[in-house]
Symmetry: none
Subunit: 417 residues, 2 copies
């Protein structure tokens, strides 16, 4: 079966000028992907008639479903509606149903309909209106030679509601869609090119209907398998078997699947074991605690963190031996070992993580250059450490170290499982 192809068009100067981050196209892509519609292109153009008409024409040549957001406001700089009328060669006339719904919407919010807002109910004659229960700009659906144009408001919550309630169900009805199955394998502790080398043979032997993508993010990699076919259960089974072949090649790096980030997987493991975590973060400055606490319910297993940015606090609050710091320095294996062990004990936790390093861009020496970072994970009487040689970029170093620390903890949790 051929794929049903879609294109997304976003209209608005404010996006081209970098004033508004367009998250609509991203979200719509994900929803279309879920139902097996393949988005082949996304285009953003400004509030300029010729541009908009040209983009419509180009999109129609390539795709069967063209979804448009933005440019539906009642003011003169909003051109989507007149452009659609021109493109479909028809007049804009007052739509009775749209007007009735608009009046009901305004009444429900205790507001009156002014002249400008009333114009929102005037639509191109050739379209079917798509109700907007969340705002004043309704959607427009056009059928043309087996193709569909649908225009939606740019306000994210209005567009999302319209997509989920109206547009997606209608696309499913009007098009014969293939079955698509995605599975993501999540890995950490290995670089992208090392991973690619390790799984080269496996990758080369993937069947035609399965595609692989690498999605790296600061030392954390998502491997995405996308299978297309006719029967979902068959695809699931097919991908399941492929992953069975993959796992032995990369076991020690795999921490989870699909939408669960490292901090969530760690949370599951800690909760299951009824064990607690504490952190002593020097160079990561609270970022690991932030990642842990973005997960709802993390108070079940996260006791707390200390960020002893000054050495004096490492000694006074965390009980690191003054002699250790004087002899080996704050950025040393000896110091992070004491930090990890002491925070575990002091905060009554089962696992203690610690970081200490030169995050940069300043503060490096020939012996201890920017990017040198020590991390440790303490559990019971055992402490494991790692030395990292990272970059000159402070923010990158903080992010990479957070992944390395969480990976160190994850490996321990899995070993003890």
């Amino acid at each position: 079966m051929n794929n049903v192809l879609a294109e997304l068009i976003t209209i608005g100067d404010e996006i081209l000028y970098g004033q508004t981050l367009d998250t609509n196209a991203h979200w719509m892509s994900g929803e279309l992907d879920k139902i097996g519609v393949k988005v082949i292109r996304r285009t953003t153009c400004g509030d300029v008639e010729e541009e908009i008409l040209q983009v419509f024409k180009e999109a129609e040549q390539r795709a069967s479903i063209i979804l448009i957001t933005g440019g539906l406001g009642p003011t003169s700089d909003d051109l989507t509606k007149p452009c659609l009328a021109k493109y479909f060669n028809c007049d804009i006339v007052m739509n009775k149903q749209a007007l009735a719904e608009l009046e009901a919407y305004m009444t429900s919010r205790g507001r009156e309909l002014n002249k400008l807002t009333r114009l929102q109910a005037a639509l191109p004659e050739k379209c079917e209106m798509v109700s907007n229960e969340r705002g004043t700009a309704c959607g427009m659906w056009f059928n043309k030679d087996g193709k569909v144009f649908c225009s939606m408001p740019g306000v994210p919550h209005e567009m999302k509601f319209m997509m989920l309630e109206k547009v997606i169900p209608r696309i499913k009805k009007e098009f014969h869609l293939p079955v698509i199955y995605h599975k993501i394998v999540r890995l950490a502790g290995i670089g992208e090119s090392w991973l690619a080398e390790k799984i080269e043979d496996w990758e080369n032997s993937l069947p035609e209907n399965v595609k692989l993508a690498y999605l790296p993010n600061f030392g954390d990699i998502k491997l995405r398998l996308t299978a297309s076919g006719n029967v979902l259960d068959q695809l699931k089974q097919q991908v399941g078997l492929l992953i069975q072949d993959l796992l032995p090649l990369v076991t020690q790096y795999v921490y989870g699947y699909d939408d669960d980030p490292l901090e969530k997987v760690i949370g599951h493991l800690l909760r299951k074991k009824n064990q607690k975590l504490a952190l002593a973060e020097s160079c990561t400055g609270g970022y690991v605690a932030h990642r842990i606490t973005t997960i709802p319910g993390s108070s079940d297993y996260f006791n707390g963190a200390l960020v002893p940015y000054q050495n004096e606090l490492k000694i006074e609050e965390l009980g690191v031996n003054r002699v250790t710091i004087e002899r080996y320095g704050a950025v040393s294996e000896e110091t992070v070992i004491e930090m990890a062990r002491n925070v575990k004990d002091k905060f009554s936790a089962d696992y203690g993580l610690a970081s200490s390093g030169i995050a940069g861009p300043g503060g490096g020496t020939p012996d201890k250059p920017v990017g040198l970072i020590w991390i440790a994970c303490a559990h019971g009487n055992d402490v494991r450490t790692r030395k990292l040689n990272l970059t000159k970029d402070r923010e990158v170093n903080i992010r990479l170290t957070s992944v390395a620390l969480l990976t160190l903890l994850h490996q321990r949790l899995v070993e003890n499982d």
Copy 2:
């Protein structure tokens, strides 16, 4: 003078499938806007040769500057480089400078060059390489009939560095650009629509050549004035006078200008006074410490933080009175006052900040619903508090609270200035 037109092309199936949110195009749009280059279209296409070549061709017909991100990894699903070679009709050959820089980069990180990574230094013969000091994929610059194609890595921090250090300066040199002057006034502690109301008359009286944009971000607002003309000094003077008129309307909310975020402005003030900061973060979970420590040199004024996620740690480590927590609860004005005061004293700081609240989505009660958050700022014997009623969204609450806390501190620092 005619505008110089640009198009942005993003390449990657992972974006079309909705798995990766493309923030690169947004950021690049903003940077090009700053130098007076007009972005007329943004296109995202998949990892498909014909698609990519078609997008190159279309963009070249409309714009003078074509900037491309993504698809530069060493793996077989990355097609940007072979497509550029095909488009410019040349071979891909090992580039000596690229190889030398790649080797130096890997050596500096204590890692070896494997076969796949080595391929990153092979480039289309007709391009000039653009150094990537932050990663392994270098950029490629092509000149063709007065037009420019430049390909950059999709990893945001690598792309940003390359844009700021290499690409933007070169565009400024090779194209004759209009004179644009931007000035950003930064405000916190006021909502967007309240601000708009306060400055309505001022905004309506802005001259033709000056545009105003509101750029809100979790309670932190940038007001950007963009003046265009012929002489930079005249524009600076014009904007300076406009800001003189604006300030009296919003004095208490303005914390800084241009690129300095709240945490950096606070750092300047603390360093100037030679004063120190300490944090006790419960519901913000380390996020404020993270913001403070993203600023290079923050160890000059940041002593450290405690994240006492369990009440027991609030009592044992921070010295909050057990009776206070039992009587008023951990989320209460009484508790944050003790937290702020105690962390200030215990960590030998001049200012102590504290947060405690129900970040959500669970954990709310009728008395203390999700989104109820108390914050405090202690200095000397004086503690100031604020009660926040925020949203049901955990991440939004953490971000909004961080801005509110930093604003509370900023106001104190300015008063004492």
